[in-house]
Amino acid sequence: MTGIDATSVMYIIEIIIGGLLVAIGVHFVPVGGAPAAMAQATGVGTGTVQLAAGSGLTGLLAAGLMMKMTDNIILIVASGAVGAMIMIDATMLVGNWVYIFGVGTPPASAKVNYDPITKLPQPPYMAPGTVGQGIPTVCYVSGTIGGLLGGAGGSLIYFALLSINGNPGLSGIFAIGIFLVNAVLASWNIQGTIEGFHDTKFKRWPRVVQAALLASAIIGVMAVMITGGA
């Protein structure tokens, strides 16, 4: 165990900011859950936490490698964010291959009549009896932003923890835990599925800020005290 001093408080604040980035980032990730796996809904056919964790933690690997080489926080966080973006982009791209070539459907959003980025009309391309399918451009861009925030948040948490204890393995596993707590909180807020920043559910993000703030503060204090003694 170790005491809480001014430096520790700074690291706790970094953990809280990282947690908030993760929680808000999850709101950008376009996931359609089980219906999307049957091309019944727009978005990636998996759960919010699953995809956010998959991308954010891939970013954590990149950040871990970068932090071995440098202590420049901007480079570490940016490297984590880029790693997460690469993972989520590759996943969404190949997901679209399956929707387009395997299922034979063009990507279409059910939440907007016109794609806010490309201005392309959406309802005529929505299969009957479904609420959209695939990952249209607006969802893809939103997912990329989600990866950026999730990867940056996870990396920031890792940076704070490793700065305290210097143990990459311990810091990595704690960062994964804190990441998952915030991702699950966000998932409850959006109740399973969301298309991205153009979805009406996205407006709920201020609620998760309160929850993530509280959760990250508690876990941040615990994590700093526990890992600081390693």
Binding site: A37, T46, K68, G83, M87, T105, P128, G172
Partner: protein, 301 residues
């Protein structure tokens, strides 16, 4: 950048591609992940079947478990018993496959037994033939990912600071997330509902009406793996291979210690290219398939 690192990186990309494909096929044989909601529903709406049913958990946590178990076992054998790496990794993957077998068996028997009131039986021949197939695929996934983790933790000139089981756990989580997001759509949207017209997702009215007849006889989950291995599995492999390769490539061609900015910038360029390609893909699909003729709204296509 040196030839040795690039060779290892290529090997990692190839291993990741195989791992992605086998992960997806493992989840198709076992009917894990999201499309299993329809398998679960089928018996309840009057369609008992011979499809395997093992929703152990979401694919990312379960694959993270298999890979972490494999890498943990391998690490103990390498470091404490000084065993050769390849043999240790193979034994580690075998332990992970045994874990997988236990979870698969209990999941299949528990889920099907709980649906007895819907005339859904526990088929012992399905249990015997499919569980071993699932375990074999889980072995391949765990083996490949543990090899990737071993290369990252011990072999690359610039070794990763995380211990091997943690790297394996993260890659296991990623491969599960990718398999669940990509290949499973081929199983859920296409293979389970081949009795509906090609070119659309599942109409809500058809929920639970999964196809139960095979190309010959009654359909089993091994028939599903045969179908999904033609596209969904390799596509998943491509996605995971791309992730592992591109993410590590940028840190191999540039030295993170002195060229960190270039490492990040290369990643950003890759992300921009992927976004542009996706837009081109969307345009292609809209042009190729056109709007749905059933659409009666006011918005012009």
């Amino acid at each position: 950048m040196d030839a040795f690192s690039m060779g290892l990186l290529a090997a990692m990309g190839a291993l990741a591609t195989v791992a992605g494909a086998s992960e997806d096929i493992e989840s198709d044989v076992g009917s894990q992940s999201n499309p299993n909601s329809q398998v679960q529903l089928a018996a309840q709406v009057g369609f008992p079947h011979r499809i395997y049913n093992k929703a152990i958990s979401g694919e990312p946590p379960s694959n993270a478990l298999w890979c972490a178990v494999a890498a943990g076992t391998a690490m103990v054998l390498i470091e404490k018993f000084a065993m050769p790496a390849l043999l240790s990794i193979a034994l580690g993957a075998a332990v992970a496959a045994l874990f997988n077998g236990v979870f698969s068996t209990t999941a299949y028997m528990g889920r099907n037994a709980s649906q007895a009131r819907f005339n859904q039986y526990v088929f012992l021949d399905v249990l015997r033939t499919h569980t071993t197939t699932i375990m074999a695929h889980a072995w391949i996934t765990a083996f490949c990912i543990t090899c990737i983790s071993y290369i990252m933790a011990y072999v690359l000139p610039m070794t990763h600071p995380f211990p091997m089981p943690l790297i394996a756990m993260i890659w296991g989580l990623a491969v599960g997330a990718i398999g669940s997001s990509t290949g499973d759509v081929h199983y859920g949207a296409e293979r389970e509902f081949q009795n509906t017209a090609f070119g659309a997702g599942l109409n809500t009215m058809d929920s639970g009406h999964i196809v139960r007849e095979a190309e010959a006889g009654v359909r089993s989950s091994i028939d599903n793996a045969w179908f999904c291995a033609k596209f969904g599995g390799p596509a998943t492999g491509m996605a995971f291979g791309l992730t592992v390769f591109l993410d590590n490539w940028r840190a191999t061609i540039f030295d993170p210690a002195t060229q960190g900015v270039l490492v990040v910038a290369t990643g950003i360029v890759i992300v921009i290219i992927l976004n542009i390609y996706n837009k081109m893909l969307e345009n292609y699909a809209r042009k190729k398939y056109g709007p749905y003729p059933e659409y009666k709204g006011d918005i012009e296509a």
